[in-house]
């Protein structure tokens, strides 16, 4: 192991988290809509890095392919076909400020109460290894899944479980995508003759 490599990994992780947060802020706060599409793309690139750190390079690839490659480009086409520039956001009024402050205070109180109540909550790994009924059910599910696809989270295991355990949702997703394509065609084509 190279000395200082953990420091490098930490720095890369910090850059990825900062990319995600900054992309989300740009996407939400900028007034020009094209900048906010760029922010969404930036956020998705950061999310791909987070998926990579979570041990799933396949999902990182899919995130870039679907979100940056398809969703953002489609939204850019939508921006070009309409005039979506935001009007200047008006300033908050006094009542809105009061309600917002009240909401923040209440949710902070609820959160602090939940943290206080859950103070003895143990780490998930130990919670799942304890011999409770839920953990037993999980173990049983794990064994049957392992019999199908050596559950290591690899692309091969994902493919096998997509075509065995999750074959019905897989087909349903393809049906949903087909219906979405047809519906988009019909809806976007409908008003065209009126011009």
């Amino acid at each position: 192991m190279i000395p200082g490599s953990s420091l490098l990994v930490g720095a890369i992780f910090a850059v990825i988290v900062a990319t995600t947060v900054a992309g989300a802020l740009i996407a939400v706060l900028s007034t020009r809509i094209i900048r906010s599409v760029t922010g969404l793309a930036l956020c998705c690139i950061g999310l791909a890095g987070l998926y990579f750190f979570l041990g799933s390079p396949f999902l990182a690839l899919m995130e870039i392919l679907i979100y940056v490659g398809a969703v953002c480009v489609t939204i850019v086409f939508g921006v070009m076909l309409s005039e979506p520039d935001e009007p200047q956001p008006r300033a908050f009024r006094g009542r809105e400020l009061a309600w917002g402050t009240a909401a923040i205070l209440v949710s902070a109180a609820v959160f602090l109460g939940a943290v206080r109540l859950a103070g003895r909550w143990t780490a998930p790994a130990s919670a799942f290894s304890s011999q409770s009924a839920g953990a037993l059910a999980f173990d049983r599910g794990r064994q049957s899944a392992e019999a199908l696809a050596k559950a290591d989270g690899s692309v091969r295991a994902i493919g096998i479980s997509l075509l065995t355990t999750y074959s019905l949702p897989f087909e349903l997703i393809s049906l949903v995508l087909l219906v979405a394509i047809l519906g988009a065609l019909v809806i976007a084509h409908g008003g065209r003759s009126r011009q």
Partner: protein
Amino acid sequence: MTPSLHNQAAVYLVVAAFLLAAGIYGLIRRRTFIGMLISGEIIFSAAALNVMALNRFAAPDPVVGQVFVLFIMGLAAAEVAITLSIIIAVYRNYRSIHSKEVSELEG
């Protein structure tokens, strides 16, 4: 020894919560449909990141979360296609996609 930062579930969960908060804020504050669509995509991403973090740190089978996130991505892509076609149809009829002006269905 505490695990390094990228091996803690809390970091991912906090980032996901931040994405959710940013998405909801944008959904409320945005006044064009495309801006609201982008905020909705951020909310989808927050849910996906949450599922992936819990899949990595708490689930016994690491495949389930990835399949789930793949389905989320497919649904998000379908949603974007439908929403953009609706936006274009609305723009043809109203010459505007500002949510203030498209208010015929308002009660």
